[in-house]
């Protein structure tokens, strides 16, 4: 095989690779685009022949219909509130425990740490029924705190925080602070916290997006439309008589757009949160 033949062969291969990746990207993007098109069209557009592939002019009208069915803004706010509080609480619990596991010596440390890792394998459905009755017994059924409380439990957070703190907070710094008479909590607050802020961003994204997208628990706990989170509210859109696809996808569209914008702005952070969460 001479040089030019080889060169031609490899450039054909390159083109093929680009074509393959372009098709993959198109398949990834198309449902989003189609969601947008449907959100701007009457319900009947979904089955027109040939298929409707350009946006129409009902973007606002369809969204008004969404507002007739669900309290969209209330639901978005509820989700935002739940996820924000959950994230703050989990970051606090995880960094405290991660700090203790990374830098303290106490009896049974390894056993406790292993126990935390073991709790990760319990499938969430196993406790679902008692959790439901527990929440209802303490009067938290149909409330946002009732939704939140389950998400406070996050063993992965402790694991990540321990890894990060033992890798990035120097022992000498802690020893020096101790000699200066700092309490452990003061060390946590003024030395450890500033150092682990980047890890907070990673873990924060993991926790926030997991709580945002979770469905089974929110669907089980919330019955009152005023308390619906966005996932539960969206799921109601298809539970109506005379299903209106334009309306359904309008709701999905407006609930998804904020996420897409946040993701496109911080995509590197999002993507590294996945690898940090599973690879290390």
């Amino acid at each position: 095989m001479n040089q030019s033949e080889k060169g031609r062969k490899s450039s054909v291969g390159k083109i093929l690779i680009y074509v393959l990746l372009a098709i993959a990207s198109l398949c990834s993007l198309f449902p989003f685009y189609w969601m947008f098109v449907m959100a701007t069209r009457p319900s009947s557009a979904y089955n027109s022949i040939p298929p409707t592939i350009v946006p129409g002019n009902l973007l606002v009208e369809n969204f008004k219909k969404v507002l007739d069915h669900i309290d969209f803004f209330q639901a978005m706010w509820n989700s935002f509130l739940v996820c924000s509080i959950v994230t703050i609480v989990v970051l606090f619990i995880s960094s405290l425990a991660g700090f203790a596991f990374a830098k303290f010596n106490f009896r049974g440390k390894n056993i406790f740490f292993t126990a935390i890792l073991l709790t990760m394998i319990i499938p969430p459905q196993l406790g679902l029924i008692p959790q439901y009755f527990l929440i209802s017994k303490v009067g938290l059924l149909d409330t946002l705190p009732g939704v939140m409380i389950l998400f406070f439990l996050n063993p992965l957070g402790i694991f990540l925080m321990r890894q990060y703190i033992s890798g990035s907070v120097p022992d000498e710094l802690i020893e020096a602070a101790k000699l200066d008479g700092c309490s452990n909590f003061k060390i946590y607050r003024s030395i450890v916290l500033p150092i682990i802020l980047p890890a907070f961003a990673t873990l924060g994204i993991i926790v926030f997006s997991a709580a945002w997208g979770e469905f089974l628990w929110q669907f089980t706990v919330l019955r009152d439309p005023e308390k619906y989170t966005i996932q539960v509210a969206l799921a109601q859109l298809s539970n109506t008589q005379n299903v209106d696809f334009g309306m359904i996808l309008s709701g999905v569209f407006w609930a998804t757009v904020p996420l897409l914008i946040i993701f496109l702005l911080f995509n590197r952070l999002f993507i590294s949160s996945i690898t940090d969460g599973s690879v290390k």
Partner: protein, 292 residues
């Protein structure tokens, strides 16, 4: 010394109340007959017998496994291919491809299920059926036929998760030291041999990880079929998964004993499948190569 316990205490207190207690109570409840209101009665293994002899339960196990296989196994194959391509040195627009392939993952499962319920609606000229008609095929009832529902849900699961696995494999590939490839090139190994003998073996821990998480995730499938099927989610059996069966027993039929028994059986199934799949994957390639 004391603050060590103090700092890890919040997790364990919360775990005791909403983690451990519910799990133990579930196991207890698995042996009781209870409708949530009247007093419980101990029934021994009767709940397990009811569940294990219920054809609908076995249908749900079958559905879960079929959708799990169709929805997740191809993901791992495509994930590796995409990750390999995205790591090629000459590739331009890397970040664009990476972001677009990952994009579906950030949408919630409910949103994905609603989008796909319109793409794959039953109407004979819905978009999915239109595409079939271009290939000369008959329309499919995507929300009410045995295979239609399973295929639509599998495609949806594939679409949402393939980017996630790609990112993990990509991180894996990028962690492989470059000198391994350089040495192989000097020894005259071509790109395909390098893929087979360097990339794949080095990627094995990442493959084991994704097989484990995919297996566990597949057996817990709930949101996608529930939202995709909407009103008929708990009345039809074509796509009823194990967790949907559990949910239906508990919150539609108020049979909390059998639902808890189902939860325990699910735990056993998850443990068994995860162990088997992880074992098979970590044994993969051992005979052939002699790599660690």
């Amino acid at each position: 010394m004391i603050s060590g316990y103090l700092y890890i205490a919040p997790f364990f207190i919360i775990f005791a109340v909403i983690g451990l207690y519910p799990v133990l109570f579930s196991i207890f409840l698995g042996f009781q007959k209870w409708n949530g209101l009247s007093p419980m009665t101990f029934v021994g293994f009767a709940n397990f017998k009811i569940v294990l002899t219920d054809p609908l339960f076995w249908k749900s196990v079958y559905n879960t496994i079929v959708i799990g296989l169709m929805g997740t196994a191809p993901q791992l194959v495509f994930g590796i291919i995409f990750a390999y391509l995205l790591n090629l040195a000459f590739l331009k627009l890397k970040n664009f491809f990476r972001v677009t392939i990952f994009l579906p993952y950030i949408t919630s499962m409910v949103a994905v299920a609603l989008i796909f319920s319109v793409l794959f609606s039953d109407h004979e000229s819905s978009l999915a059926n239109y595409v079939l008609s271009l290939a000369g095929l008959d329309p499919v009832n995507w929300s009410s036929s045995e295979w239609g529902t399973k295929i639509a849900i599998s495609i949806m699961v594939f679409w949402r998760w393939v980017g996630y696995n790609t990112i993990i494999y990509l991180a894996g590939i990028q962690s492989i030291p470059n000198d391994l490839y350089e040495a192989a090139t000097i020894d005259g190994a071509n790109k395909f041999q390098q893929l087979l003998h360097i990339t794949m073996p080095m990627l094995k821990p990442f493959i084991v990880l994704t097989v484990f998480t995919s297996t566990v995730g597949a057996l817990q499938l709930f949101s996608e079929p529930t939202v995709f099927l909407g009103n008929s989610a708990f009345t039809r059996d074509e796509a009823m998964t194990i967790v949907m069966y559990l949910y239906r027993d508990a919150f539609k039929l108020q049979s909390f004993g059998t639902a808890s028994a189902t939860a325990i059986i699910l735990l056993v199934l998850i443990t068994a499948f995860a162990a088997i799949n992880t074992f098979l994957t970590s044994g993969m390639g051992r005979k052939r190569g002699g790599n660690k």
